[in-house]
Subunit: 159 residues, 2 copies
Amino acid sequence: MPILTTYRTPVLAEWVDYNGHLRDAFYLLIFSYATDAFMDLIGLDSNDRDASGHSLFTLEAHINYLHEVKLNEQVEVRTQIVAHDKKRVHLYHSLHRAGVDEALAASEQMLLHVDLAGGAKSAPFNEQSLEKLAEVLDMQIDQPKPTYVGRVIGLPPQR
Amino acid sequence: MPILTTYRTPVLAEWVDYNGHLRDAFYLLIFSYATDAFMDLIGLDSNDRDASGHSLFTLEAHINYLHEVKLNEQVEVRTQIVAHDKKRVHLYHSLHRAGVDEALAASEQMLLHVDLAGGAKSAPFNEQSLEKLAEVLDMQIDQPKPTYVGRVIGLPPQR
């Protein structure tokens, strides 16, 4: 039951605001790099798309901001599969200070497998990717259920 | 009933992937700049935080990706208020090619008004900001209801 850590980085100067805090969009950039790493893991070659001719497109992303993160802090992304079908995968990323369990942010995302050669149309995962997805699901079986999933944004009704 | 256009930009080279398409996180960066402009509009001085001592922190953001966007395309963000209370505002941004009504992406966000001087604790909007929020609500009264709000991410149950 190892945790799947998909990305590690310090918080870079170009990602922080006037106050030295990570800007909201750059949390998602870090999660986006983690998705790239996840793609590599399941054989989709984020750095050499020609090799597979397939990629994952983000259909929808939800992100919860839990704590501020400062310039130069070392952070890491842990990744779980919530669910998948033949051509979609529902991923859950959480952002942490290196080695710390408390989450700084969390994001669930729905990703669609596409065939780049075929005009970026949706396409089923191949056998190799399905095996890798099954491996990751097996690996995470003892991990706690993701916290920030299934959320709806809204204010409580006004008094 | 003018539409509130909060941000205009071409798609920059540092925002696109190997394929020349806007990366998912940079859609959110464009929306983040639009939120800055919205802050200025309601008197929160995104470029001069010392003046107001207050800011908006993003608590949660949901984003739907509807179309790819290419390098150098001119895009604009249109912004509506879904709801607000004394210290939170529920915003809706949509991204468009300049002058085109069809949306390329949409994002609803819950933002919290904070007092930077007081350790970034939540704080009620002042009278001036409340008046500005009311003005924007009045201005948008004839506009269509936002499409991508209240969404939950999930795969349909497997057969």
